[in-house]
Symmetry: C2
Subunit: 348 residues, 2 copies
């Protein structure tokens, strides 16, 4: 079976259609980013290097296929269906927004690397990166506004809403940098907004554009929220215990940037004076070398903090799977179930 | 006569309606920026201090009123007309986009002040400013997507298009910082995109939302492009010859940031070896103290470089006025004509 989006093998019936959808989404993105201004073209090329797993458009596409039979129309989506192009387009919109947030995140985090290469800010400076992010956002909204029909307006409203939510998550996170008293509630509030909401809206709009009823769109939104939250916890875990070679960026950055993640929050609640020392490090914003990170990871393991985070992620995956239980059995639904599980099994 | 938007006295019939439109636009903005996240609320408050002249929503509103009689509908817009709310909303959309660009511009320019107070980046850092700008952009697009009817979709498409154009202008400008060989063509390309396009689309969409035919919308777009370009040249002139107290921000910043503006481009073409020295300063990015600025301004005056820029701005104002010649005579049209003239007479 082909390994779609690099994280889970897809059933053949779904794989081909989703692969075609991703090809279409990339074509739509390229066309949307075409510009007559050479200086802009150069910069856009750098951002295009950022797109990796295409996880968001893929999940959106699978959601649409899984919703198709419930639409009251003729049946599941295929490549000749006009809904196919609309879903690929919403995938492109969401990927463009995701790229914009990556470009701006790298400015915020002073990141030098992304996907194993230099970041846009490392190559072109913060100024150009700020505007490049704005450009990608504008292009995303423009593309979304061009979706035809009533469903188009609905998509544009939801995409605008969710992008604001993503920014709220980022602002919350920035406001709590180095905050050793960060609560679990605030942590979840941050990651649900910052990461999960965009994935969730992709699932929801996949269903909407396939013509599914509201109840199906809602179920897929819940699926996406749970999956996205688990995805971010896994990202946070990988920043501690991952292999740099596989993750494709330097590890231990969360601590260096004063971002408290779930294992650390648990450790601070249970780890006593030793945890206070970690807290001091968080506050100082000092660099964390590899041996220090290994010692910390060992202590997190001993205190059950890593297992705590793993369990949380695993519970969320179970909730994601539960959310789409009522969808009729189909290869696409099976794949959504597999994708949810794969999100916390990945090493990259 | 009341001095609307601080730059030109408005005929009474127009003034009241436009003033009501601006009140409505501000209400719409406030409502759109309401959030349950306290950290976001705080940040948004800072951005709201940025809105000053409200020139863009005002011109958009006046454009709508001037277009009304041509719409084939009953006549000019009044406050009870549903078109009134739509036009105020598009004014709010455009002002939000403008605020977003100001917040990001201050990051790009390392500006410490804005409207006589500290900039958001000075108060909260670059990171929060980057995300605040993104938030304002998303909120603008969300508001635009919620405009009802077919005209709403058309507005969303145009606003997305033009915001991309604004970013292209910014990228062009950044790419040519310190470029002593900047041509007039590139200079105009930059300011038309960066400043004029957003004003122009406000005029155009004012006409569209008032129900005017395409030819009127096109005429108002041309009006806005010419007025906006003149507006930016005047801004560039004020950065050299303005009074800091009136302009509300430190002067001489363009040169410090390596931005070549029209008077400087003319000076470099005509000023020989002396101009080369200025060029060297542009390249070094050195600070320009007040006496140095005064000496430079004197030389620009002697070489006719200031007059050259003033004439260009004045020609553009004439073109702006010409663009709306075919509109039927009305107090709103008179006010548009006056506004165009006032743009290059202002000292702030």
């Amino acid at each position: 079976m082909p390994t779609l989006v690099d994280i889970a093998p897809a059933p053949a019936q779904v794989a081909d259609l989703v692969a075609a959808g991703l090809v279409r989404a990339v074509e739509v993105m390229h066309a949307q980013l075409r510009t007559s201004v050479g200086e802009v073209e150069q910069l856009v090329r750098l951002a295009e290097r950022y797109h990796g797993k295409m996880l968001r458009p893929a999940i959106s596409m699978v959601s649409a296929i899984a919703s198709g039979p419930l639409s009251g129309e003729v049946g599941p989506i295929d490549e000749s269906d006009p809904r196919f192009h609309r879903v690929a387009t919403i995938g492109a919109v969401i990927e463009l927004i995701h790229l914009a947030t990556l470009v701006h995140d790298d400015v915020l985090d002073h990141a030098e690397e992304r996907r194993g290469g230099p970041s846009v800010n490392a190559l072109k400076g913060n100024e150009q990166s700020v505007i490049l992010g704005d450009y990608l956002l504008s292009k995303a909204f423009h593309l979304c506004a061009r979706l035809d029909a009533e469903a188009g307006t609905r998509c544009a409203i939801r995409v605008g809403e969710i992008t604001s939510t993503v920014c709220e998550g980022e602002i919350l996170q920035l406001s709590h940098r180095g905050d050793a008293e960060l609560t679990r509630d605030t942590y979840f509030n941050i990651i649900e907004r910052k990461t999960a909401a965009l994935i969730a809206v992709g699932c929801e709009l996949g269903a909407v554009l396939s013509g599914a009823p509201q109840s199906v769109a809602d179920a897929l939104y819940r699926y996406g929220m749970n999956l996205g939250t688990a995805f971010q916890i896994q990202d946070d875990l990988l920043d501690l215990v991952g292999e740099e070679r596989l993750v494709g960026k330097p590890l231990g950055r969360d601590l260096e940037l004063g971002k408290l993640t779930l294992p650390l929050i648990h450790f601070l609640e249970t780890g006593g004076s030793e945890a206070q020392a970690v807290l001091a490090q968080v506050r100082s914003g000092a660099e964390l070398d590899a041996p220090a990170r290994r010692r910390l990871v060992q202590r997190l393991e001993d205190c059950g903090s890593l297992d705590y985070a793993r369990t949380m992620a695993s519970d969320l995956v179970a909730d994601a799977r539960l959310a789409i239980e009522a969808l009729p059995d189909s290869p696409a639904r099976t794949y959504l179930l597999d994708l949810a599980s794969a999100v916390i099994e990945r090493a990259f």
